[in-house]
Each structure stands twice: as C-alpha cells, then as structure tokens.
Symmetry: C2
Subunit: 534 residues, 2 copies
Amino acid sequence: MRWANQQSRTKRSIAPAALASTCGIIGAGTIIAASIVYWGPVAHAEAPPAEEKKFIRLDEVKQHGKSADRKWVIKGTRVFDITDWIAAHPGGPVIIRAVGGSIDPYWDIFSIHQNPDVYDILEDYFIGDIDPRDLVNGAVGSDNIEDPFVNDPPRDSSLIQHTEKPCNAETPTSLLDTFITPNEVFYVRNHLWVPEVEGTTHTLTVELPDGNEKEYTLAELKSKFAPFHITATLQCSGNRRKHMSAGARHAAGLQWDIGAISNAKWTGVRLRDVLRDAGVDVDARYLEDAKHVQFVGAEAYGASIPIDKALQARGDVMLAYEMNGRALPRDHGYPLRVLVPGHTAARSVKWLEKIILSEEESQSQWQQRDYKCFGPNQTGKDLDWSSAPAIQETPVQSAMTSIKEVSPGSFDASRELQKPGLTEDAVQVAGYALSGGGREIIRVDISADGGSTWQQAVLLPDEAEGQQSWSWKRWHAIVSRPVVGSEMVVKAIDDGYNTQPESYVGQYNFRGNLTTAWHRVRYPFSEDRPTDQS
Amino acid sequence: MRWANQQSRTKRSIAPAALASTCGIIGAGTIIAASIVYWGPVAHAEAPPAEEKKFIRLDEVKQHGKSADRKWVIKGTRVFDITDWIAAHPGGPVIIRAVGGSIDPYWDIFSIHQNPDVYDILEDYFIGDIDPRDLVNGAVGSDNIEDPFVNDPPRDSSLIQHTEKPCNAETPTSLLDTFITPNEVFYVRNHLWVPEVEGTTHTLTVELPDGNEKEYTLAELKSKFAPFHITATLQCSGNRRKHMSAGARHAAGLQWDIGAISNAKWTGVRLRDVLRDAGVDVDARYLEDAKHVQFVGAEAYGASIPIDKALQARGDVMLAYEMNGRALPRDHGYPLRVLVPGHTAARSVKWLEKIILSEEESQSQWQQRDYKCFGPNQTGKDLDWSSAPAIQETPVQSAMTSIKEVSPGSFDASRELQKPGLTEDAVQVAGYALSGGGREIIRVDISADGGSTWQQAVLLPDEAEGQQSWSWKRWHAIVSRPVVGSEMVVKAIDDGYNTQPESYVGQYNFRGNLTTAWHRVRYPFSEDRPTDQS
C-alpha cells in the first residue's frame, strides 16, 4: 500500500522501468526531504504477525537472484522478498544488484537509507531469518557478501587515495604542473563502483518528453555525428575542501587538497546534434516540457543540466568516448560519458546509459543535495535543501602547484616568459587558474607577503580547444627574493571580472563545496607547511 | 604629411567620413598609447617661419564655421585653419562642432588632448592671433565661447549631481528602494553633451564588414521588427567607487556612492533581428570578419560588444526606444539607444546613430582605457592598457538601501515576507543585489555584527522580464535587535556561485571600477555615518 501510494503520486502513469529511471538513483534523495508527503506519517513499522520463526538457508537465498521469479535480499541476518518493491524503488533498478545476496554493502553506500522510514518499507517484505547453521559468529560470513567494488580497475600508485571504495583519489601536486593531465593520473571521483560496460554493444537511450525513446549504439554515435574536440578541465566541487576545514571550520566530505582537478583533451559528438537527431527542436527559444537534460550512468549515478546549456551552439556539451586520444579509461566513464565543460564535474556523468529530457532536474541526491552551497550559518539540520540551486557553472578558482628558488643564472624559460629583469635570487611560483561558464582567466595576482603587495603572473600560452574557455590557465611568476615575506598568495580574475573571496570564513558552507578563497602557502616552507607544497 | 601618414595606416582606404566614424570619437584614445607609431618621433613642433605677427578679428573667425570652405578654430587666443586636418581627426567629425569659435571647451572634455603631440599637430595649422581689440583681459570673452552643454535638458532636483557638464548624477538612496526606477530619477552618466536628435527623422546606419551600409529610420525599425520588452538594470562601472577610495586608497574618477545604478522596463527591437535583416548570418558559428559590434552615439561616444553577445538568441540585446512605457528621455538616449543587458552600462550606447560590424573593438577611450580594471599594484604610469580586457559582463554586486528600526507590532508586510517569529525589537535592512551575464542572484547574506554571524535575506518577488536575469533583485531582512553589533554587512551570491570579495584592498584598481567588496554600514548610525544611509 505504501509504495503503491508513492507510485500514484508520480506525474504520469508509466511503466515501472521508466519510473525507476526517471527517478534516477535517488529519487531516494527525495525520501528524506518529503517522506511525509510520500508515505504519510508512519509511526512504526507494522511487525509481521506473530508466528513461528522461519529460517532460510543461504543457498536458497542465492537461488532468488536476478533471474529468479521471486527476488530476495538479506539485510543483516534477515531475509526479504522485495520482488513487488523493485519497480517502485526510488533508487531505480540498481537494487537488482543486491538480490540473491546481502544488501548491506549497497545500503551503506547510499546514505539515504539511514532513515527509519526506509527500514519500515523493507519490513513489509520480511519472510524469515538466515538459518543459524549458515552464520559465522552470528552474522552472514564475508565470503557470502559480495563486494560491489570487486571489479574496479587498478589505479596508478601515484594517485593520492582518500577512499578506495568508492575510489576517490586526487592528482598529486607534483603532477599538476602540466596543461594536459595524463589519463593515468587524472583525479578519480567515483560515487559508486565502476560498472562493467561493454563498449562494442553499449547502447545509449534518449527519452523524449513525450515518452518516446531513441537508441544509439556507440558505433552509431561515432558514424552518424561529426566528432569534435575540446580541452576541458574537470574539477570536483569539493576541490580544496581541506583548506576550508583548516581556514574556517570543519566542512563535511572528503578533505581534498588542490588535486581534485585535472585537464584533458576530449573527443566525442555534440549532445546538441544527437538531440536534434532524436527529434528535439534544438533552435527553439523555449521548450514547454523540456527544461532539463538528465543523465543516468550505468552504475546508478544521475545528474542533470539546464536545457539551455545542452542546446547552446557554443555550449560544447559532448558525449565523449576518448580522453587524450585514447578510449576513455574505465575510471573515467568507459565507453561513453557526458562532458559538460564549464560546469562542476558532478554533471559530467560517466558510463552514460540514458538521457532524459524532462521538466524536472534529476532527482538524485547528487543533484538535490550533495552539490549545493548554503550560507555560513546554515547546517544540514532542518535545512530546506531546495532553497539553493544545484551547482552548475563554477566560480573563479586558482592554486599554486609549485614554489621553488631560482638564481639569476638559471631563469631560462621563465626569463623568456616574464623578463623580470631580476639580478638577485628569486622565487618561481606556478599554478593553475580557471573559471566556470566558459569565462576566461584574464589576470592572476601573486603576493609574496600575505596580500600586502601584488604582482601579475604570466599566463602561459596553451593549445586549448573549444568555443569558450573550458580549460584551466597555467601561470608562472618570478618573485624577487627580497620581497618574499612569510606567505605566498594567489588570486585570479575572469573576464566577467569575478574574483575569488579573500577568506574561508565568509564563504564557509557546511558541505565545503566550491572552496575558492585565496590560496595561501606559508613560504619559506616551515615545518608545518601544507602537504600540497613540497 | 603627418596626418597623411596616419591615414595611410588605417586598414582600408575609405572615405573621410567613414574613417572618422570607424575611429569613433577617440581613436583619440589611441593617440596617447601609440603616438609614436602614428606620427613618428616628433621632437618639437615646427615653428611657423618668422614673419610679422598676423591679427585676426573674432568676426572673421565666426565666418569660418561649419558651412565655410575654410574652417577655423581658436585655441586660447590663437587661430588655426584646420580644414585640411578634419578628415584625419582621430576623434571623428565631432571636431566640426568647434569650428568658427573656440575649441577650448571641447579640448578640455577630451582629456586625450592633454598631450604635447596633439598640440604639435595643431601648430601646423596656425594662421594668426586674435586681434587684441577683441580680447577681454587678454582672453577671448566668455560670450564668444560656445558652451557645448547649452542644450542639455533640465534634470530632476532630487538627483545628486557629481558634475553638471557633462551631467553625472546619481539616484539618491531614498529613491533606490523600488524594483523599477522612475525615469526622472534614473541615474544619469553622460560622457559628453546631450545631442539634439530629431526622433521623426532619425536614421540608424548599419555598416557591414564588406563596407556596405544599410539604413533604417526609427519608424522603419518599429514597423519592420517585432518589439519586445525586458527589465534590465544599468550600472555604471564606477558605482560605489567612493567606497573603494575610502576603504583602500583614492581611486580616480567620480566618487559615486551606491546610486550609479537604476532599473527600468525597456521596449525596443532585437539587435539580432536587425543584423539578420541587414544581411548578417546570425546563426553562423563563426564570422570571419565580424568579431565585434561597435556602436556610435550622435554626440561622439563609442563602445563595442563581442559579436557573440549581439547574436545570441538569448542575449536580449535591444535597440531601445522606450523606457518604462514612454519615449526615452533625452538624458537616456532619445530617440534610440542600445541596451546590452548583463553588461556594464558603458556598452549601452545612447543616441545611437551607427552600428559597425568589425574585426576590431571600438577604438574609443571608453573601450580601450577608461572601463578596464588592473591589479592593485598597477597604475596609469607606463601601463600597458591593452593588457586588460574592456569590461563587459559584470561581477556580483549588492548594497543596502535602507536600515530602519521596526517593532514587533509593525512588521506587517515584512513579517509576511520573512515570518521571522521575532517578538523583540528588530531592524529591517533592505537593498539590491545583481550580477552580470544574465546570472541570477540566488542568495543574499546579511550580517549585523560586521561579518561574524550571518542570516539570509528574503529575495523579493518581482516582474522581471527577459530570457535571463537582467534585473537587480530586491531583498529584505529582519534582524533581531539583540544581535545587532556595530556594523551591517551585505554580500550576494549568483547562480554561478560567484560571490563578492571581502575587502576593497584586495580588489583595488586605480580607476576604481567594479567596486564590489562587501557593503558595510556602521549601525547604529553614528555621527560619521556614510551619507548613503539616512
């Protein structure tokens, strides 16, 4: 009754599979915010009628997997027949991964399940307990719990791993010093496991507002549409969160340093072209029932972008299949991903399986909750998540990736770049700067004395491709040794003359997203120097 | 020889009138930066051959005005026959306004003339001195010097005038508190005099890259193209310059408070539609020889915007003839002006006479010099003006327009808006916030204690029209009296999550453009309270 009720509240009557996909993995995101609306005020789960305890053998559970008529899962040591729930699961068909075994590893990945209402739902499907003969120390043995990450690819050992499952690994500062980041050391930000997708048979489905679908195999995408290239930087919304935690107060999430960012040359086809082919009037000034383009990944991740960005002739939104001249690595979306240049990386959905034109944004937690910023005073407690928009275009950012002493005799290339005319010892500072929305970096200011005096860095020439500025700008500066105080600072300015805020305190947000306050590094390096400078 | 040399350096051989227009009023802007290039190293003016001093009567000068074959001007007490120079004047045909009289008032308006090279040029055309019988105390009497501003319109007495000639007048804070600013008190930022343009016969010329021209009378524009409306805020790049001067160090230019900004509903036709009609392929992804759209005003002002902004379907660039439902007032461009929403107001050229599609930006001083920002350390001395781009889209801005005590019994409308649930005395703060490039304001943070703690203001609903966010957002906040410290602060955030910098020191630029640091007002008001709060 409860889930039937939920189903009836969806706007249109559609097939279960379509419902699940439309909801994205975390319509679940909606559960917490709107649980009362969806289920009504449920005081407690109804306990199953009192009867003799029923025990089920593990082997029997395993027979109720994907291909069975009735699909069972284990939660802890209890067994549930969720067959009738699957179609209504707000998280979509990903739940099928768990059937025939334990749902616990998945339950833990999706924090949305840490809610009494979700437990209540499951209770309705209870059918028995695991037979004590199959328990090890009172629990299902780990041999019998599938690891969702078992098929994740190997990673380069130089990446700095924050978490292994899912893989969250940043590019070390020493490898951030080139315009193009090699594939192997491009930062990895996975929200879930890496799905195994077959390139040769992979099919992309485009769902139009009228419910019609059009399918394209990867081979068809390549043969039917003109390929193009862009260089584009991807940056995690959490890049530099560590600095906000240190400079203001703790911000929840992975404590990324300056390496949740990388730049690559991408090859693919235009989303605009594909949508036109699928029947969308891409030149219309206004589309009644298509305000957002949702992307669904094969692992269950989902996100969306506004239709305008998708249709803009100069938007360069790409369905990408190559990265730096090679097929996408598995960690970066093999065989097909979205590349939304100028937007936060969370919208560039990997392992792209489905595109949905909709009146609504993706209902995933990554659209509705995780990637938003609130005021310095706002916290997750009693927060109206809908009061802030999902992060799309990103603000100006910059960071120093190297600081080193140079002597007059060894300026070489730097001298050519800057002609500083220095005869005394000096310090060379280098780094990256970028802005969102295709806005170009026009100036980088460097201070060697904590922000009292400034000089301009030299913006290095590059081979950026694309109709707008989608790549970071590399810069260098030579600072005369005598003017070096105790702290190096960098701030950048884009062509809308947006600049970075001065301190973390003013831009603090409890999720630590879009940390862009002036990057400061104590210099000369002291014992407690930040780990990002070595 | 000298000016012939200059002429030969222009890219195409074109008629003198076209040359003058192409240069805009201040190709003159180029003279200072590139005088050596244009004229070669001129050590000193060549003195006229020694001969008996020749005196000329004032009446004779007056006969050498606009319609005379030979055109003379007086500079100080000396007379010059500039007939042969007019076609090469980098400032364009505006120079003709001065012939038959004194050139001094114009010379003073265009600061570009304060350069020895410019005097040198004039010396070549010296023909004699004013007869001492026509001098009053050794100078030409003021009766005989025309006032270029004599035909400027009357202005509302509530405007706060910074300069009268040209008129630079801001909207008083007390009148900034409505979504739409009435025409009479809309801030005025004139660079020159207000030209007298006849609405019924006014003609707009569109010059295409191939040199072809197309003309439209105002009546034709109105009948041939679909009218549309937008509400759009215009803001002078110098708005709040006074705050930067006070908060960092003196910034050159008019010391505007928070009122060099106003909002109106505009009616006109799409520039995109007019350009299409004139023969431009407005849907082309790339136009070889049209990178910029230059606008020339009837008084001699000129500026340009990038072609992309002009051609964007969602750019809403308008040729406007109505402001708040009435014909444009003379101070605001009667009968026709450009409205470039989302860009700094300096690009919304008034008294529009000519549009030029060009490979180059406008060469006016207002494009090449005045409206740019440089680093905190950079000054006009030895500055490479070309190292910074002309301001187009503007960064996030906000200001408080009123602060007043309210008691629990009188919340009324504000209570409805915010439902703050306060029972104690409180302070109501209100103001504006806006961003450039069509980016919407998504949040306004208020601090009543100098930035230590924050709360969110309520963004007021409005009737903004346009395809993107072109209008300021009005906001209100109710602050509990007990949390009021000694300083109120406001900062805003746009949908690209750009925010305002914290202090004036970091964003200081010697021209004081785009002053957007957090607006702070001492409160409770003290004796030395800023004049913008009363």
